[in-house]
Symmetry: C2
């Protein structure tokens, strides 16, 4: 028989079981937290009509999509490259059936035909969460609270959620008479961490800013202090821009809400350098970094936008949301020694092992008993040497092995072996459940 | 601005929030049960190399795949059309890194460019679970146990898991001297429910069976009784076929294991008419039907196969598994009035509503308190009329509304309204948690 080499397309990653279990644990944390804040799950097709997905047109995106027209069909289809455009299409399509404010989360794969390089995937998971149809700053405050819960659960050390409001920056530029280059200046600020001081000055000069402008921008985004100190400072700066003052008020409202929620102050800070490159954002913006692993970059970012779906509907749909690029985050964290354990090959902690097939029936009963008590359990079913059974239990990373031989069957007990300590003791079936719970 | 009509490609379904919540609840039941039996999660790319995915070649499948080659690329890619071929590729590719027996489940979308018709989707969820590398009948018995747990949780009334072993049928045909047409006879039996008695006879005649053969086949697959009665009968039938007797012994071992697990006898039965159309299966086969909704057809089926990955590796990989076609099942059950509730638009049961923005801070604190107690909670954030707030709570299907006004803030209490009964009472914050838990 002719065999085909079993390999994947380049840039398409997949996990071994231990990695998948660790990845899914992170995904479950994200999903459960999103749901705890009352966000409804959403799922959209992997494929969309190309004219719908690329309605905005232009840009790098269009070069990177997987588009095709099936033989015999007239419809060009494209694999979604993010979860935001499908959300816009969804909300516009189902507008009359949805209740607003519409809170939804979407965890799913997206595809981009990127140039192949380390840390870049052509298929990856996004974990998006948005509220559509509310302009309340209390809603903006939900996202730092959600990020805080998720990253606290992840246990990758301390982290910092950086907050800003684009209206403050654009209002400030407007006040300086720089409205026409506002978007370009934002983009320079967005990449400030990658620029030398000189490059920063020369890029702003190139946009037509004079030395005084540059100095004021530099001083402004350099404002430091506690959140309330920064806000106090911002309130007192004399800038002739309504937008600026609205932005400051909104940011202050978000910070107030975070305080009321009891989020530790050390976890979030106003950072006037956070601009976010995308034109899309219009108000609050977020970025999150891991304090101990700054090289990972922003692990969760997002912001508020005025109009989600203007390519599809005339209804104005303001919204705010964040996204966690879980595949990329996981890949980066996996490289850090000792951070993510992939030892567990099974969601079960327990394996039940009959010494010989004579104890199969009893072993089945014990397994059923454990599962009935909601304890995830594997039954070792094959009739092989005891040594092989233990090797399997060891390789799979089970924490406990429940051994049953003739003596145990007679006495109605089991022998419980703790694989970490190596201790084995005889316990009754009832004690077994209590110990494994 | 030019707008594009927001619509999906034909045959690509998506849900409104209430439906998605109901669908996800089923999906969670399936996933949790699969994990309770120690099956590890697996995820493979949505796209595979066409030469890998279609290595088997031929058949209807090849006509129904979404294949394409991206401009500038030499690799033809295909969206996976099931989860079994990717499993075969995965196991062959990672053979040396996996520990066998390998238990995995995979819940994911697959794509088939089927002719569009009611109840047919071009994108749908499969929920597959398999064990690779064990020949023990105890493993075969895990699947009826898993099906039993899942469908018991679903609460769609009683159901019946039908079991057979193909070796019994093929051995029986072999004993009658019909080995050469065994696969064809199996296929006729597989569709017996759709055939009249006459059509059944004429199809078998066309395969070269004489009247005596047809009568014996008819009597054989018509054997009825309790599971142990059928097995007793099967053991006593005098058939000169080793395969037949091995099949009977395996089926008996599966039934014994199910009894030891305590699965109610009413839930599973030996049914010699279960053949499963696919050539693929070689031993145990399963089908499941809902007793009250027989028109839904088999809601979960599967079986044992000798060799999973012979297109990719010379290693023999026997396995056994089942699949739930959740999208199709959900669509069918949704049509039955009163069976699936889609009233809940939010995973939260509770919404906290401040009477005016003066109580925002307190409302935020109460929401944080509830979430801290793992109670999924929405905070109503917009400053609109009270009537609008209640209309929202009602449309979203929240079970409880927690109202906070000035009096509540003063007293440190809340007003808890049960939306079903309409009762409202003032409770302390601590009582609130206890009541909502």
């Amino acid at each position: 028989m002719t065999r085909v080499e079993p390999r994947r397309p380049g840039g398409f990653a997949e996990f071994l079981p231990g990695e998948q279990i660790a990845f899914n644990a992170m995904l479950t944390t994200i999903r459960d937290t999103y749901e705890k804040y009352g966000y409804a799950p959403l799922d959209t097709p992997d494929l969309e009509r190309t004219e719908v997905l690329l309605a905005k047109g232009g840009g790098e995106t269009e070069q990177q999509v997987y588009s095709f027209t099936r033989e015999g069909s007239k419809t060009s289809l494209t694999l979604r490259y993010d979860l935001t455009v499908p959300l816009a299409r969804y909300v516009a399509e189902h507008e009359s059936d949805l209740t607003f404010p519409f809170r939804r989360y979407h965890i799913g794969k997206v595809h981009r035909a990127e140039r192949q390089q380390k840390g870049r995937f052509r298929e990856f998971y996004q974990c998006d969460i948005d509220v559509i149809g509310s302009e309340s700053p209390l809603v903006d405050a939900e996202f730092p609270a959600i990020i805080n819960e998720i990253f606290e659960s992840f246990n990758f050390g301390e982290f910092t959620i950086r907050l800003n409001n684009r209206m403050i920056l654009t209002g400030f530029f407007e006040g300086l008479g720089l409205r026409d280059v506002s978007a370009e200046v934002l983009r320079v600020i967005d990449k400030i961490d990658k620029l030398s001081g000189e490059a920063f000055v020369s890029e702003l000069s190139a946009l037509g800013l004079n030395d005084m402008h540059i100095a004021r921008v530099h001083d402004f985004i350099g404002i430091r202090g506690s959140n309330s100190e920064i806000l106090e400072k911002l309130k007192t700066i004399d800038i002739p821009s309504e937008q600026y003052h609205q932005g400051v008020a909104k940011l202050a409202a978000v910070i107030d809400a975070l305080q009321a929620m009891g989020i530790p102050e050390s976890r979030y800070c106003v950072d006037l350098r956070i601009a976010r490159g995308l034109d899309y954002y219009t108000s609050t913006v977020y970025e999150t970094t891991l304090d101990e692993y700054p090289d990972v970059g922003s692990v969760c970012s997002g912001g508020r936008y005025d109009n989600l779906a203007d390519n599809y509907t005339k209804t104005e749909l303001p919204g705010v949301g964040i996204s966690i690029g879980l595949s990329r985050l996981f890949a980066k964290l996996r490289e850090i020694p000792g951070l993510i354990s992939v030892d567990r090959q099974s969601p079960a902690n327990v394996i039940v092992v009959p010494i010989s097939s004579d104890q199969n029936k009893y072993a089945i009963e014990v397994s059923a008993l454990l599962r009935g008590a909601a304890i995830s359990t594997v039954l070792f079913a094959d009739d092989v040497a005891m040594k092989k059974k233990f090797r399997y239990a060891d390789k799979m990373g089970f924490a406990y092995v429940v051994i049953v031989g003739d003596d145990e069957v007679q006495a109605g007990t089991v022998s419980l072996k703790d694989m970490e300590t190596g201790d084995a003791k005889t316990v009754s079936k009832q004690d077994l459940i209590a110990r494994l719970k």
